[in-house]
Amino acid sequence: MKSTPSLLPPAMQRRRPVFAPLEPVSPRARWMLGVGFFVLFVMVWAAFTLSGYISPTFLASPVTMVREGWLLFTQYNFHEDIGMTVWRVFGGFAMAAIVAVPLGIAMGAYKPVEAFLEPFVSFCRYLPASAFIPLLILWAGLGEAQKLLVIFIGSVFQIILMVAVIVGGARRDLVEAAYTLGASSQGIVKRVLIPGAAPGIAETLRLVLGWAWTYVIVAELIGSSSGIGHMITDSQALLNTGQIIFGIIVIGVIGLISDLAFKVLNRRLFAWSTL
């Protein structure tokens, strides 16, 4: 990645203040600052818990947390829970994307379709996915279908609307240019609207995947026998805050990795959009 050149003339760069507005930081400093906050966070946490200021019943210390985490992997097969949760997130999310992306494109491209579906989808978007859990348990039982459906409901309407907005915001001048080059209306959708919207759609999917992680844990908190959320409920019953915190951190780490992977993939696929 190339670094942004400094805004200041070379003569002034030696004395530039660190806090000049919009002044870029070097990649090395950026990395150190980012890690620095994590270190600071853990230090404050350690100070409060290890000193006994906060009772271990309410908040485990970082040391306990790491020890409990180790136990989870060695004695409780925690990797199976992680695998279960990851599969649910990606399964439910993939189902939602497969349904929502084509629908969103159709809505963005064809205004009658939008007029027909938009009000209903907007309404559904405000229905909290977690409130459907009791109903879904009734309909789909306590199995995998119910978990996947929670994530599906939580993601699908969001993706539809965001994709519709992105596709509908296509540059009109490009559409006109394509028409003058002899494009059919099908050609406009396939060769102008979709490629033009693709980076935005990929970015939307990255965002919604983040939300899907929230839904999966909620789904696993209720009536589940596996998954990270299930482990957290179990630990709550045993007042094991170390395990709870470890579970939460694992979710954060997986989220961070999948987000990063998505970002790298998007940048690869749509190099033209970041030129």
Binding site: E176, A178, L181, G182, P195, G196, S273
Partner: protein
């Protein structure tokens, strides 16, 4: 000889949000012969672009009709290549892919696409930039690609809407020479909209002067310089005389606009 393009009583009225009507174009009658190079010259906002958009099929006349080779224009089509003022290359396609866009849309064979795109890339002097994305090109190079893209489709007419308006002066002059050179060798019918008097005279065989809004064609002036034209004609007394004449015409219209 029957004209290739005939514009008959074409007017355009826009209806605003509160039902307010704005007449952009008074009924216009105008004809363009095959292989002619005609510029439409007028102050900004005079409706000259509206007329071009109607010919392109991107806008529709409130009254009248436009006929191309005896056929009424119903919408945009590959028989009229358009180059816009704004940069309208597809940013996700390379230069070569942009030029092939229309050919691919009409499912020409891969070999034919390649041959035509290479021919026009060479013609507009973009060899070596085939794999560049539009954002990696200067404004002048983007417009050269846009001209090549329009020409690759082998249209009956080329319609240009102030294509060099956003370019710096030096580049604009070079682009005029490039386009004129292409016309001199390929002899496509060209309709070129501009507000630049030098540009209008230098390239055209005929200049149609537009009045201020609501637009109509005020006068038509023939430009008889022989082809191929060299940029030095711009300093000839005949060129100067034409320029003085058109400056007066346009000045009167521009003042009419500013008095509104």
């Amino acid at each position: 000889m029957t004209p290739q393009l005939s514009i008959r009583g074409v007017s355009r009225t826009f209806t605003g949000t509160k039902g307010l009507q704005t007449q952009a174009l008074l009924p216009v009658d105008f004809e363009v012969r095959e292989n002619d190079f005609v510029t439409i010259l007028g102050p900004s906002g005079c409706g000259k672009s509206t007329l071009l958009r109607i010919v392109a099929g991107l806008d529709f006349p409130t009254s009248g009709q436009v006929m191309l080779d005896g056929q009424t224009i119903q919408g945009p089509g590959a028989d009229r290549g358009v180059v816009f003022q704004s940069y309208t290359l597809f940013p996700w396609l390379t230069v070569a892919q942009n030029i092939r866009f229309g050919l691919r849309e009409r499912s020409q064979s891969e070999a034919e696409q390649k041959e035509r795109s290479e021919f026009f890339i060479a013609k507009v002097g973009l060899r070596g930039f085939e794999q560049h994305f539009p954002k990696q090109l200067s404004g002048g190079m983007q417009q050269r690609t846009a001209i090549a893209r329009a020409l690759a489709n082998d249209p009956k007419m080329l319609l240009l809407d102030e294509p060099f308006g956003a370019l710096d002066n030096q580049t604009r002059v070079l682009m005029q020479e490039l386009l004129l050179g292409i016309w001199e060798s390929a002899r496509k019918t060209v309709l070129f909209v501009t507000h630049d008097i030098d540009e209008a005279i230098f390239m055209a065989n005929r200049v149609a002067v537009f009045s201020a809004r609501p637009g109509r064609i005020k006068t038509e002036i023939a430009v008889d310089f022989p082809h191929p034209r060299h940029y030095t004609i711009k300093t000839s007394p005949e060129f100067m005389a034409l320029k003085a004449l058109l400056t007066e015409e346009i000045r009167a219209e521009s003042m009419a606009v500013s008095e509104h």
